[in-house]
Every structure is written in C-alpha cells, then in structure tokens.
Subunit: 420 residues, 2 copies
C-alpha cells in the first residue's frame, strides 16, 4: 500500500482526491498497489469539504505530512514560493514529491532536483505546465532521445480563450476580457496571465526539461496580449495567419533563445487550430520530427489528472510492476449506434425515393440530410446522412435497399464519428 | 554503464543506433548513465552497414544477446511472430525488453507481460503504435489516472496519406495509391495498411493500455479504405466533414466496442486537420477531458525515437536518477531574426510612405507585403509584413518610425513564427 500526504486541499487537491477515490481500481491495476491518502495539511480544518476524504486525517501542521515515516509521496498544491522548505525536507526524508507549483519549480528547480539525489527520490511536476497534457513526462522520457530543435507552446488558457473570442466574435480585447472573467476563464486580476508571466514560468520549466538548461525568468523575454486589437487579428487573417501567444524556445545560430510573445502563425499549422482554453505544445526533434501534444491547460480535474499521473509514474518505477489485463470480449459493432453516410446509384425514375425512404423508416433510420447529384444517362446519385442509427438496422436496410429494382447499387456506406 | 543488445538491424534498428551515437550526451544527462550497444544479432554479418556500429559485436546467434549476463536491455526490431520465444527468454533472464513489433505485442501481450513479473523487468513497446508519438507511455502513466471514455486514432500513415491526396488533389484511390507507392509511403503489397489490419493491431494494443483489456484481433471489426471514392470525399466536404480511417475504442451502453473503419468527422475537430503521413491519437478521459497526441507515425527515425525513449524510461526507473541542469544564459532576443507584422497610423499625406520605406531600408528590413486600410478623417492605417529581420534592427526602425512627423503612432509590432 502506498501512502500519500497532501500539502493544501483547494480545487486541484480536491479533484486529485476525487480521482484517487473514483478511479482507484484503474490506478491499482496500473501500479499493482493501493494508493491511499493518509494525511492532509490545510489552513483551516473546520472548512466544509465537498470531496470525500475517507479515512484521511486533516492537520494544520505540515510536519505531520513531511516527517511521517509512513508517507511515501507528498503532493503539494498550495502554490507560491513558501512551500519550498517543506518540499526540500520531504525529499531529504526520502519521500517522493509531486507538485503543481510552476512558480516554485521555475525558481528552485536545481535546488529541488539536487535534493532528490541523496535518497534517489522522484520530483515530479507534470501539472505545472499544460495542465493535463503529458508534456513533462513525454519530453523527459518518451521523446527524451531527441536533440530538440524548438518548442512552441500555447501555455496559457486564459489568453488563448481571449484571442479566440476576439477572432470569432469580432469584439475587442477589453469586452472579451470581461466576458472571460465572468465565465471564470480569467482571474479578477488578470495580470499574471495577460502579461505573459504565467507562460514565461512554464517556458522556463520546459527549457529545463526539453533542453536541460537552467535559464531563469530573468533571461526570458516576455510580452503580453494587452495591446492586441481586433483589427490586428483581422489583418493577420487577411495575410493568412492566426495570432497566438506562444512560449518559444529554439536553437538559433549563437545558442538558444527563450521568449514569450503574441505572434502570427500560418493558418494551416496544427497549432493555429488550438482554440479557446486549450493548450498545446509543438516540438521539433532531430529524430521524431514534428510532434504536438494538445489538451486542457487548466482546471481542477485536468490538473489533478497530471498529479495522479505523476503518482502512477513513481509507483510504477519505484515499487511494483505487476499488471494483469482483463480478458475481454467487446460489444459487437452490430449493437452500436452511428450516424451513417450513404451513396446510392439509382434509375432516375418516379417512386424510387419513396421506396428508399420506406426502407429507412422500416428500419428505424431517420435522415438528417439528403441530396441528389449528377444525373447522368438517367442514373441519379443519391447521398444520405442519417441520424444516429443502430449498425444492425443499417445492415438490414442496406440489404433491403439493394433489392429495390431501381436501386442499381449501394455504392458506399460510411460511419460518422466525433460529431456531437 | 547500461549495455544494450539488438535483435535485428534494419532501417529502424540503424536509426536507433544513430540516435544512441549522436545524442549520447543528451541521453546520459537524462539517465545519469552511459548506454552502449554491445551485441547485434543479424541474419547476414557480411552485409554492408551504413550506420557506425562502434565497438558492437555482430552475431547470427540470438543467444549471444538474450543469454549474455552483461546485457541489460534487449531491443527487438525484427517484426512478426517468431521472435516471441527470444523475448520470453530474455525476460526470464532478467533483461528489459523494448520492441517495435505490433503484431507480436497484439498477439502475445499477456504472455509477455506475465514473463516480466518474476524478475520485475520492463516490457516496452512505444514504437509499436504511432511511431514517435508518446502514446503508450502517456496512456499508461501521465494519463493513467483517467477512466478513458474513448480513443480515436489515425493509426496508419499510409492510408492517411492516401486520403489526404485524394482530398487535396482531386484524384481517385487507384492513382493516388500508385503515387504513394512511388514515394515510399505505401508498400508494394499495400494490403496490410489499406485493409485496416495494421490499424487493428495497433488498436488492440491501445485497448490493453488505455482500457486494460485484452481484446484480440478476432474481436476487432476492421474495414479498409479500398472503396473510398473521390466523390465520397467531395460529398463529405459538402456536408461539413473529412473522411479519415480511424481506430476507435469507446464506451457504449453494454461495454466497450473496438473497431477500425473509414468515417466522416467534422472539419473543425482537431483530428480532422491531421494530414498526410501524420498520425494522431485523440482521447477523452473522465479527468483530463479531451487530449490529443500528434506526430509522425512511421519511418526509421520517428520509430527509433520511441525505442530509445523506452530505453530512457527503463534506465530512469530501474537504475539511477541523477540530473544536473546546465546553467545557461540564452541568446538575447535582440540577436534573433523574425518576420514582423506592423500596423502604423499616419497622416494621409504625400511622401509619408517614402519616409517609412527609407527607415526600413536603412535598417536592412525588406518588405514581403504591404497594404493601406481605412482612411478615416485623413488618417491612414498601414499594415506591413516584413521578410526575416534582426530584432535589434526592428527596434531601431520602430524608434525612427515614431520620429517621422506624419507617423502618428506605431500601433502594433508582432512577430511571425512557424512560417517557413
């Protein structure tokens, strides 16, 4: 059994406890152990908690977490610089540390990494960059064989939401910022996000992981989106570009440059289509070529997904590695629903459409769209898009359609996916 | 020092050796150890090799790899079912195994996983699905806390290349397949790719990793792209869709369904813009929400990137974890080049454009595009897109532009990125 202690229990911490509760079977299948929360250090014990803390003990004393010899893994979700001494102590005590704290990791990364050496512990911070996107683990491990040429990241969801709305709704910066604040996508004080500072902390962490370089915020140029106007976004569109706030690290002639600023990127580039509060990191490695990771960059559950992912990594690596797959016979495709696209060739005669429509309705298939194309030599092509229908019913319908005299052929039947 | 043995040395194996040679400093920084290739088992020792094998010994006897007590990690790049007994023996001997072999992992996954238990070894197969995309490690670890609702993957680069070309060039399946074969994107016998079988093997592996289910190819419905016609792709476009060959695993009412077939997906969906030989895996998890991994799905170096990434994972987990960042002062942004977008407001008078043009040329800035917009109350807005220029020169130019009498303001200066 792996015992976990928390420092802090806000939105992200609560979501992490929820995941550990709700997905405990999935997690223990992956790591071969039970992971349970033993102790949680909070500011206010009497505060009402919405999450089920099970048998976990609440305390206001961080020593109850970092000095408890039973605790294997410490998760820090407080934020800011001041938990540093606690994390150093936890590492010194042989505990693995998982943190979502971008400011602290940016400022104290080498000191924290050094503290892992003595007891061979893990320091993990997947949640500090790109929320639930598996960018830190991927860059340090699965993509770790590459000499990275460049990284381009949409690292801040708030600013990407604002730029998307300016673009899509044709409004200017100020009213869109207000809307983002009302929707909870921007803070009351938006400075940290809007100025590029948040993205600069994250870029500094990516510099350490992708390029093994300790850069520091003081060497990172950053510029925000406060001055982006609707007309610039419109001009950019006319020129074939989108405007995005990017964190960029790249090889140049004399070394590497690290910078955060709004910039124009070609519309067809994969990162140009990353919209709203989504984040993405696009990397170019000498072996892997172009690669991109995309997902939600903020929010309690996406961030907590990364935190518990770090716990899984630690337990898989340091403890056990037993995995048993469940032998499984999946549901037959016949019993599943899809929207369907059909193309039929028919004699262009009276009554054929009525017969086709009857086959569909006899098989409980209703139509979303329908058009006729290219009548050539008295042969018409009919295209149908159905509403969601049972595969088995569609099979029957197709057989019936083939038996209609004036239907020459059911040329194509395709399923529609990801359309809801 | 970590010693590696290879079974097989074709295109992928050679690329892996190249990466281990060329990026040895990056890799040893990541894992705190040197990784060297000790022994390589090949069919024909006398064959000319293009890759520098350094001090590695060539042999035709697999026992020299799998039974050598000095070898820590065995990399298998032969393919097909017959290396199974060798991998089982290597695992039994306490060696970690890395393989790119989708057919073998699909057919023998439980047997291979079981063989890792006795000696607590790793079985890694990142390269078997999605080439260099870090999908296996991400699903099993960083995203492993999620109860996955669905996976949608473009898992075969050949078919995606063909579908993209039909769409973009308006040709039909047969001539595009021929073109793909000439370019090396499709095999002389394209059946494995075109029929969906290759994608079905990969989906079977994803089912094991994302859903912990041992499904088997016999329970996976698969259908290829042989019957997709240009007119279907055109009809789909008219209906607002792209046609892609997807491997799909998803929760349905009665359980999970696993299937591979061409399908229509909405144009605006992130996976719809995955073009040519690129692969992508789009997942929906209960915690992380929507997430996508994108990159090159095949080819020697992308596949080898995944193989060496698996080696890194094993060494990081099982051996040492010392990491030292390099303290680094990056190149100043002033010394870097970008294309720039500028918007200026000016008095709409004679001669102002000439003065502006002189400032640009004095600072070695040349223009790619230029337009004038919205003359209102005798104020004109000028928009410039420059060719690549030095940041420092642009700073000077902007200061000079501000001092021109008829230039009222330099409203916006933005950099262009990812445009080459």
């Amino acid at each position: 059994m792996i015992k976990i202690g928390f420092l802090g229990m806000g939105i992200v911490g609560s979501a992490a406890v929820d995941i550990l509760n709700n997905n405990k079977d999935i997690i223990s299948q992956r790591v071969g152990k039970q992971c349970i929360v033993k102790t949680i250090c909070v500011k206010d014990i009497s505060k009402k908690r919405t999450v089920d803390l099970k048998t976990a003990t609440l305390t206001t004393n961080p020593d109850d977490v970092i000095n408890d010899p039973e605790i294997d893994i410490v998760i820090e979700v407080i934020g800011g610089e001041f938990p540093k001494k606690w994390l150093l102590q936890a590492l010194k005590n042989g505990k693995h540390v998982v943190t979502a704290n971008k400011e602290l990791v940016s400022k104290a990364k080498q000191e924290l990494i050094d503290a892992t050496h003595e007891k061979q512990t893990f320091l993990m911070f997947e949640a500090a960059v790109g929320g639930g996107i598996p960018v830190i683990q991927s860059l340090s491990t699965a993509l770790g064989a590459n000499s990275m040429q460049s990284i381009f990241g949409i690292l801040n969801g708030t600013t990407n939401f604002i730029l998307t709305k300016i673009d899509e709704e044709g409004k200017d910066f100020a009213p869109v910022l207000k809307e983002a604040q009302d929707l909870g996508f921007a803070e009351a004080n938006p400075h940290m996000d809007v100025s590029g500072l948040d993205a600069a902390y994250k870029l500094d962490i990516l510099a350490a992981i992708a390029f093994q370089k300790n850069v520091g915020l003081e060497h990172i140029f950053y510029e925000g989106i406060e001055n982006i106007q609707l007309k610039d976004i419109n001009n950019a569109r006319d020129l074939g570009y989108k405007i995005k706030l990017l964190g960029i690290g790249k090889k140049v002639e004399k070394g590497f440059v690290f910078k955060v600023h709004p910039c124009l990127i070609p519309k067809a580039h994969p990162i140009a289509s990353v919209a709203n509060e989504f984040n993405a990191v696009f990397v170019q490695g000498d072996a892997v070529g172009d690669s991109m990771l995309y997902g939600k960059g903020a929010g309690g559950f996406p961030t907590a997904s990364a935190i518990v992912g770090d716990v899984i990594k630690i337990v898989q690596s340091k403890f056990c590695n037993t995995r048993k797959l469940e032998s499984y016979t999946p549901v037959s495709i016949d019993d599943t629903d899809s929207k369907f696209y059909l193309r039929l060739s028919c004699n262009d005669t009276y009554g054929v459409i009525e017969k086709i429509a009857k086959v569909f309705s006899d098989n409980k298939i209703s139509l979303e769209k329908f058009f006729q194309k290219d009548v050539k030599e008295e042969i018409a092509e009919l295209v149908f898009l159905t509403h969601s229908s049972l595969e088995r019913n569609m099979k029957n319908a197709v057989n019936k359609l083939k038996s209609i005299d004036d239907v020459l052929n059911v040329e194509t039947v395709l399923r529609v996916e990801l359309d809801d």
